[in-house]
Symmetry: C2
Subunit: 245 residues, 2 copies
Amino acid sequence: MSLAEDRTKPGAGTLYKTIRQDIERRILTGEWPPGHRIPFEHEIMEHYGCSRMTVNKALSELAQADLIERRRRAGSFVRRPQFLSAVLKIPDIRAEIGALGRAYGYELISSVRRAANASDRERLGVKKPCKVIAIRCRHSADNVPFAIEDRLIDLDAVPDAAKANFKIDPPGSWLLHHVPWTEAEHAISAIVADDAIADGLHIAVGAPCLVIERHTWRQGQPLTAVRLVYPGEQHRLVARFRGSE
Amino acid sequence: MSLAEDRTKPGAGTLYKTIRQDIERRILTGEWPPGHRIPFEHEIMEHYGCSRMTVNKALSELAQADLIERRRRAGSFVRRPQFLSAVLKIPDIRAEIGALGRAYGYELISSVRRAANASDRERLGVKKPCKVIAIRCRHSADNVPFAIEDRLIDLDAVPDAAKANFKIDPPGSWLLHHVPWTEAEHAISAIVADDAIADGLHIAVGAPCLVIERHTWRQGQPLTAVRLVYPGEQHRLVARFRGSE
DNA sequence: ACGGGCGATATGTCTATACATAAACTCAGC
DNA sequence: GCTGAGTTTATGTATAGACATATCGCCCGT
């Protein structure tokens, strides 16, 4: 029996959203556990009495949201929930502080160009010898230290970085505007301030700090590795999101 | 002039992906800044010599990824980048530890049912008087403390919670399987362990801890507020993601 | 038993078309 | 000048059909 006639009453609104939410609910409640094969587009389309494009739109969105995985010929499958997946969209500290309505300050502490040593190579994840720029700098908001940045840039992957003026431009901003990336990884952890950090952030030794380490790649090639240290009790990473309405 | 013939050569693959990436590139490089109106579907479709549905698919995906905002009659606009947006998908600590291949342990420390006091109401974000359950519990992996959880559940919003057995089921797991949510907010910060936390996590007083505070709503109604404290140097939130290929 | 080829099948993309809907704009009437 | 009704317009949803493409599984020949 077709369910097309029900379409008139539910508050859901549109058909493909109804389909998407029906499936989403079954996944989130565990009725369809990870690995479960979702009915074929063909079957769903008969069940709702609609065309395949409509079903396809619903499933495509679920796939974009990583809730399901679609495999040609095999069907669509519920994905394992992504435990501990934290996605940060922090393109640019300068812009971030600006968005908070505070005055941005930037200070280059050191910038060294050198052949990558073993620890540089390990941090970037490169095997071959290469040249790097190692940068240490400080961001501030309204003249209060906001974050300490420690960055390595692979000069073989980003040769233009040799020409950039990091005395003026924060390296993060410069990279964002000049170098496209395809993959990134973030790791968030907590540490206590040692002498150097306490000094740089104007906080007490032993105070908690939030650390974000980000690695960025282009087509699998490492571009840059950065470690940002924030005063932990003043700074919070906040995100609000929807369960796809 | 139509660009349809170029479709044969680029490695990009499909047309709608080409369109999406072309637009994405212009946004990420700042060529089209926030607020910029991107060409109408009509114009894009003529530019690439394709049908509107193809353009629509590209734009819909950009909208789903929050890169653009679409307004009827007005057009599509580049959104402000979301500074400091951290999206955590951590449905369930129990499942998370299981996925790591470690033995999950759970221990209810206290569970109190009471009328919400002022601080409860503020934490949940409710105005009216209501009943709540306050739960404190501990999660462990291979018998090592993994996280301390402190949770409030609004009993008016989730009456079924009164019947749940939190001596056996972790409240997070129970809620995930019984209560659908529509919005959530995460805040990540760092603290140092006080006596209670040090005791609960078996770490030293003054050791760094990662704190995740999550609020969950259904259609704007607060459901639960939870604070998870992790040992900071052992625990890392890790996420890898793609710039939409 | 093993591997290559081939057909069946489910998803992936694309088109041309149609109608719905929200919002911005126009303009008449007060 | 202001208000409200009607028009225009861009997006939103849905359709039927077509062809592309990856791949699973079967069968056949060695």
